[in-house]
Symmetry: C2
Subunit: 197 residues, 2 copies
């Protein structure tokens, strides 16, 4: 399609897409997933609803793309300086900042709540987003395992969950604040374990 368009039309499309994503993320944070509609997104974005239906079959599809584009600034790969603890703390501290920003966290919360409620949505959507995050950690841990830092028989998926789930749980259930101290301590405990060496 893009090859048949003039450069101006391509730029206009790109602006519309960006406006639609921004509108979708704002609205889902304001009204929740259940009350989000294609009409609402179109109206907020200042486009016709046919423009949205031309590109996406459902509100879930719009949101999935919006989250993926929104996450585009973040590294898909975790840094690897050779210091596993420092690399994990660096990324988690940046994540603390994001999740303490109401503008950032509102759409994620709406989606997480909808996913917890609705197994099908969770299957199609929430897990796919969440899994991208978990996989990035698994990959970093795999490199540490190859380098000999992480023990050979460690289940890397469960290790990633030990790092990410306490973070997600504090955030989602608001059981305790997300701070740099918390993530630093968490990383150290996951690496060394809690029993006396």
């Amino acid at each position: 399609m893009a090859t048949t368009k003039t450069p101006d039309a391509t730029r206009r499309s790109e602006r519309s897409r960006r406006a639609i994503f921004d509108a979708a993320l704002e609205l889902v944070g304001e009204v929740g997933y259940d009350k989000l509609t294609i009409e609402g997104i179109a109206s907020r974005a200042g486009v016709g609803k046919q423009t949205i239906y031309r590109w996406w079959p459902s509100k879930a599809a719009v949101l999935l793309d919006a989250f993926i584009v929104d996450a585009g600034d973040e590294p898909i790969e975790l840094p690897d300086t050779g210091d596993l603890a420092a690399d994990l703390k660096f990324v988690l501290r940046a994540t603390v900042d994001e999740f303490n920003d109401p503008k950032f966290e509102a759409p994620y919360r709406a989606l997480a709540v909808a996913g917890a409620n609705d197994p099908e949505l969770s299957e199609q959507f929430v897990n796919r987003l969440q899994d991208t995050g978990v996989q990035a950690y698994v990959e970093r841990l795999r490199r540490a395992q190859e380098a000999g830092t992480v023990a050979e028989r460690v289940d890397l998926r469960i290790a990633a969950e030990m790092i990410l789930s306490p973070f997600s749980q504090r955030w989602l259930m608001r059981t305790a604040p997300l701070t740099y101290d918390f993530v630093d301590t968490l990383v150290d405990l996951v690496l060394t374990g809690i029993t006396r060496r």
Copy 2:
């Protein structure tokens, strides 16, 4: 109050309370927290709604008591055989069985979702229930710390979160199954850490 009642009236009250709790837990699992009403609970329990209002000021208060009574069979204190890993695995395996039982998990899910959505409900209610669970783990870890198994400077709250949050997250977001293997591996990794000793 109870001292002024005849034994028969006390037994009747006790039966009504139990019927109200059962109705509240069933209904919240079926319709979710938002659509739960005192009228609905009264109707399902076969009592007048004034009976409920006489004992509880709100649906949240009914549910809180229902969950507390429902959890009454479980140990508030974790076993302490001196083998920390075995004790944790024993309790977590029982919890796996509970959360794989739809009848048990439905009301918890409804409540967790409502709590994730509503900060005030979370504050009053969900965290209070959740904290009871976390505290039982913290206490068992404290005894292990006093016995010299757990290292001295370990933050026991975060250690408990490393055990419980991966479990809760898998359950709530349905990211992966809850199995005995999962909890066994998790406990071992939390105790020993992931880096090579």
